[in-house]
Amino acid sequence: MPPWQRRSRPLPGAKGRRPTIRKWRQSPFRSYSHCCFPRVDAGMKPILLQGHERSITQIKYNREGDLLFTVAKDPIVNVWYSVNGERLGTYMGHTGAVWCVDADWDTKHVLTGSADNSCRLWDCETGKQLALLKTNSAVRTCGFDFGGNIIMFSTDKQMGYQCFVSFFDLRDPSQIDNNEPYMKIPCNDSKITSAVWGPLGECIIAGHEGGELNQYSAKSGEVLVNVKEHSRQINDIQLSRDMTMFVTASKDNTAKLFDSTTLEHQKTFRTERPVNSAALSPNYDHVVLGGGQEAMDVTTTSTRIGKFEARFFHLAFEEEFGRVKGHFGPINSVAFHPDGKSYSSGGEDGYVRIHYFDPQYFEFEFEA
């Protein structure tokens, strides 16, 4: 049996199908070239990943883009081949909803944070749990720094506990063993709802429940920059490929583009629905927004009114130029493939969809 956990139950959504266990001869999935993979029909049909029983909370590609990590409000952490949607395996161990996932730059480690009050570090290849960091409340966001040596996670304001951002240096095993972060930033006012590492791992950029954006130093913990451009909760922050800018997705129906060093507001993308996630294309001036009517409001209305479409905007013009339908619930997380030729979305409906762009997408240009 391969070292990572595999499931021998039918996947959700595949009721009645005979369960199969697939075996790989080898598993060095970290190095690949495109041609070696069985050719996936790049026809515009999306690949549907059915590996979760509950709503998707976050999806993330690794740096090279061959793997796609997905977490949901179930305890399962899945990893997939992005090229064809084959499931590589799962990281088993969490006992509650998993809010966040991150992989380091060389895809050695995977970090997950969960509502079971723990943050776990996994060996990406073997699926082994390397560290278990217990917390007092749910872990909302987590991430590796640029070099992959420092991890950061933020915990919820919950059950009488405050919102904290904790920093661990993986090079110092005692920190992990004793569960003693080298730094812990308390966050008193409005809790952190999304956070990423800034460029070069010098700071983290955190979005708050009240719509504020803070840049915290990873060394001293002090607030370097504070801006408030959103009026409501910031659901997601994603950096551009070169990390010089990032896009925020907010409940106030907008996504905004900021400079990652100065946190200067650059652009605004407006929709009619709360935006849950936004991602920047690595090679075009495009941004994709995912969101929709909040789950609790949807039950009374039809899917048509929910507007669960992924929406593409031009980065400079702030104009919408395309929409992709498919989910029948709000989209909770979107991610661009690092090569910019496909993107994925994970929804409240529990599905992850990998979409390959059709040729028109690459040809499309605004009149300017």
Partner: protein, 787 residues
């Protein structure tokens, strides 16, 4: 209330120690004896002392009772049952005044939250700091209470004069007094009376004084005209009235001429070069109101104000005024800058209605209405702002209660078995009496002449009746009897050329309701009537404005059909076209006729059908999901469909369409509530001129097309230009960011152990290429019964 704040610390401690004691001294009635001091606990004591130190004399007097009181207060609670209430002012005490003052002071300090010195750890002190200066006047502090302070009165308002009292000698005076007393003490206590005498006999009038002016008023109202016997009918007046009416000057003063207020051109918007229309938009759940020019490209904002109205707005029928609603009344706005033109103070106003000529405004408020001063409905003059007349009103269910004739000369109201017609500008009943129409159910003015249509249901053997009555002559020009009538609805064509009475009947020997349309041709002699029988349930009916067609929605959902009928000049009514399977529940004719929008509002998800009735073609089928309103612009060029926040909480927006059903704009507004087009006054062009314009349409259309082309190319140029500058700015920013990025390259390399990860394949040399195969083996393991 102040007492609670000032409870002395020891007392509070004692209360805490005895949980059985009432914990809310404020709720208890004041106790005599301790009263003056009780509010003045130690904090107040200090304040009092401080006060005295400033004042100088009498250092001990106020302090002592306060201290004394404090002792009592500590013993007080629980030991004595609450005695009957006694006003604090009546409690005699030496230090009353200063204690009172101290109370004020300490209350003041308490409200400021002054920190405590002697209040202990858990009880803050409310004493003032030493340098405290009392600069709060009593008026500020107790303004609301002082207002009710008893006022001195000379009592002259309470005196009435009773005339036509029998003249009696002293022998029967006592008896008379008894009788008068008996009659007039009904209205209140008579405190004084006076019977002037002359030659041993009373003079035939009497002065009576009541305890209060209200009683006097009551007596005047009810006893005036009281018949004592055949010869004596009382005339009762207020004594002060004599004074009032005596002093009226005999000469008539010419009222002063009011200075002319230049409001600018109130119809400036009609002079706009592009002939665009205006509309008002309420959004942010009513917090903001905007006025826009309607434009094909984007609406152009003219005016936007926060909290311009408290509920909604209304345009006057000719578009001159915008009426806004406020708790205290109605305000009218107009002119180029939307300045306030007029205000009508009517507390709690809810509904309004303009007369068609805009001269009068009818307002309704459910709040204020008194027996003797009707104020539920008020009619105002919009030009002067004067209140013309007030009316009582029991219910506003059928607003407008007053219906206006087309020229604003008359207005009418229906009450039980009566139809009251009033005339302007006197606001009095026409011919001083109402029409008695027993059983009248509904009435309606013709929009084309002073004709009223009303109907009366069946009563035993008398058939139901629809009557047309000419005014002011009250001549019945047409009466139509109907049998087995359940209900009637009156629909006038906009010009008053036709009247359709929709009659629901249950014919004898049949089950269910049958609907007939009785079409009255008003412009012909004798007003001939034709009948159209409908077999199905009627959902909606609407006349074509300025035309002779009408549209009917009929059937049961989901099988709804629309039929278009034409009233020919020979009186024949012809079915032009019927479309079945319609998703519609409302008919919206273009104000110019010919075009119609059939809308399935609300429950029908906002389905829209744009129909041209000249050849009965459906020009477009569209949808505005969950649309709640459809509004034609006054010229019939555009239609707006909207989802109002009042009916649906998401996707609040208004969409602009051409009359052909081409979608021009989607305007999303946060919590959008209402859009109203600004009406236009009727055209001053004669029929011939209109005809001429229609004839020369080709000539005009060329000019307009050219204009459109110009503006279109200009728009696209502007857009491209805007994008170009945006792109340039963005490139500039990106260049800066990328420079920074390149500068940091070494740091990045260092952090990732020398591996260049800047590009996806920048470390391609490091890659080892391996072939992976999938599906090498596939085992199928049955797991028992799949669920």
């Amino acid at each position: 209330m102040q007492d609670a704040e000032n409870v002395a610390a020891p007392e509070a401690a004692e209360q805490l120690a005895e949980p059985g004691q009432p914990q809310h001294p404020a709720a208890e009635p004041p106790r005599p004896g301790e009263e003056p001091s009780r509010p003045a606990g130690p904090g107040a004591l200090e304040a009092a002392v401080g006060e005295d130190a400033e004042a100088g004399p009498e250092p001990d007097v106020p302090a002592e009772p306060a201290a004394d009181g404090e002792e009592k207060a500590t013993l007080g609670p629980g030991s004595s049952p609450p005695p009957p209430e006694e006003p604090p002012a009546s409690a005699p005490s030496v230090g009353e005044a200063s204690a009172e003052q101290a109370r004020d002071e300490s209350a003041e300090a308490g409200s400021e939250g002054a920190g405590g010195e002697d209040g202990g750890a858990d009880e803050p002190s409310f004493s003032d700091p030493e340098d405290f200066v009392d600069d709060v006047s009593e008026e500020e502090l107790l303004g609301d209470i002082l207002k009710d302070r008893p006022q001195e009165a000379d009592g002259i308002d309470s005196v009435i004069v009773v005339d036509n009292v029998p003249q009696v000698g002293p022998d029967r005076l006592e008896k008379l007094k008894n009788v008068i007393h008996k009659i007039f003490s009904k209205f209140g206590k008579i405190t004084n009376d006076f019977y002037p005498e002359e030659d041993g006999k009373t003079k035939g009038y009497t002065f009576l004084e009541y305890a209060s002016p209200a009683h006097a008023l009551d007596a005047v109202k009810n006893a005036d005209g009281y018949k004592l016997d055949k010869q004596h009918t009382f005339r009762v007046n207020l004594f002060t009235d004599f004074d009032k009416y005596m002093t009226i000057s005999d000469e008539w003063d010419i009222p002063e001429k009011q200075p002319f207020k230049d409001l600018g051109n109130l119809r400036y918007w009609l002079e706009e070069a592009e002939c665009r229309d205006q509309y008002s938009v309420i959004f942010e759940s009513g917090d903001r109101t905007s006025i826009f020019w309607n434009d094909v490209k984007d609406p152009v904002s003219i005016e936007e104000r926060a909290r311009w109205t408290e509920t909604y707005v209304r345009w006057s029928p000719k578009g001159t005024y915008l009426a806004t609603f406020h708790q205290r009344g109605i305000a009218l706005w107009g002119g180029e800058k939307f300045k306030q033109i007029q205000r009508f103070s009517h507390q709690g106003v809810q509904l309004i209605d303009f007369s068609p000529c805009e001269r009068y405004l009818v307002t309704f408020s459910p709040l204020v209405d008194t027996q003797d001063d009707p104020q539920a409905i008020i009619i105002w003059d919009t030009l002067t702002g004067q209140k013309k007349r007030g009316f009582h009103c029991e219910s506003s269910a059928h607003w407008p209660i007053f219906k206006w004739s087309h020229d604003g000369k008359f207005f009418a109201r229906m009450t039980l078995d009566t139809l009251s017609i009033y005339e302007t500008p006197s606001m009095g009943l026409l011919d001083k009496k109402s029409l008695k129409i027993s059983g009248i159910k509904d009435f309606s003015w013709s929009p084309g002449g002073n004709i009223i249509a009303f109907w009366v249901p069946e009563d035993k053997d008398i058939p139901a009746r629809v009557t047309l009555m000419q005014l002011p002559t009250r001549q019945e020009i047409r009466v139509r009897n109907l049998f087995n009538v359940v209900d009637c609805k009156l629909h006038w064509q906009k010009n008053g050329d036709y009247l359709c009475v929709k009659v629901d009947r249950t014919p004898k020997g049949t089950q269910g309701v049958v609907t007939n349309f009785e079409i009255f041709r008003m412009r012909e002699k004798q007003v001939p009537v034709d009948v159209v029988e409908m077999k199905e349930t009627i959902i909606a009916f609407a006349w074509e404005p300025n035309g002779s067609k009408f549209a009917v929605l009929h059937g049961e959902a989901p099988r709804i059909s629309v039929s278009f009928y034409h009233v020919k000049s020979n009186g024949k009514i012809e079915l032009i076209k019927m479309f079945d399977k319609q998703q519609a529940n409302t008919i919206f004719w273009s104000p110019q006729g010919q075009f119609v929008v059939l809308a399935g509002l609300r429950s029908m998800n906002g389905a829209l059908a744009f129909v041209d009735t000249s050849d009965c073609t459906v020009m477009n089928i569209a949808e505005h999901y969950m649309a709640s309103d459809v509004e034609w612009d006054p010229t019939g060029r555009y239609v707006v469909t909207s989802v109002s926040w009042w009916s649906h909480k998401v996707d609040n927006a208004y969409w602009l369409w051409t009359f052909q059903g081409r979608l021009l704009q989607k305007n999303n507004k946060d919590r959008f509530c209402q859009l109203l087009w600004r009406p236009r006054p009727p055209t001053p062009l004669s029929q011939d001129q209109l005809k001429q314009i229609k004839k020369d349409l080709k000539k005009y259309s060329k000019i307009f097309e050219q204009k459109d082309r110009l503006s279109q190319s200009k728009a696209s140029k502007e857009l491209v230009e805007r994008r170009r500058t945006m792109m340039e700015d963005f490139r500039k920013y990106r260049k800066m960011a990328q420079e920074l990025y390149m500068e940091q390259k070494n740091e990045r390399l260092e952090l990732r152990g020398g591996v260049d990860t800047d590009e996806l394949d920048s470390n391609v040399e490091d890659w080892e290429e391996e072939t992976i195969e999938f599906f090498v083996t596939e085992e199928i393991i049955p797991l028992g019964n799949p669920e």
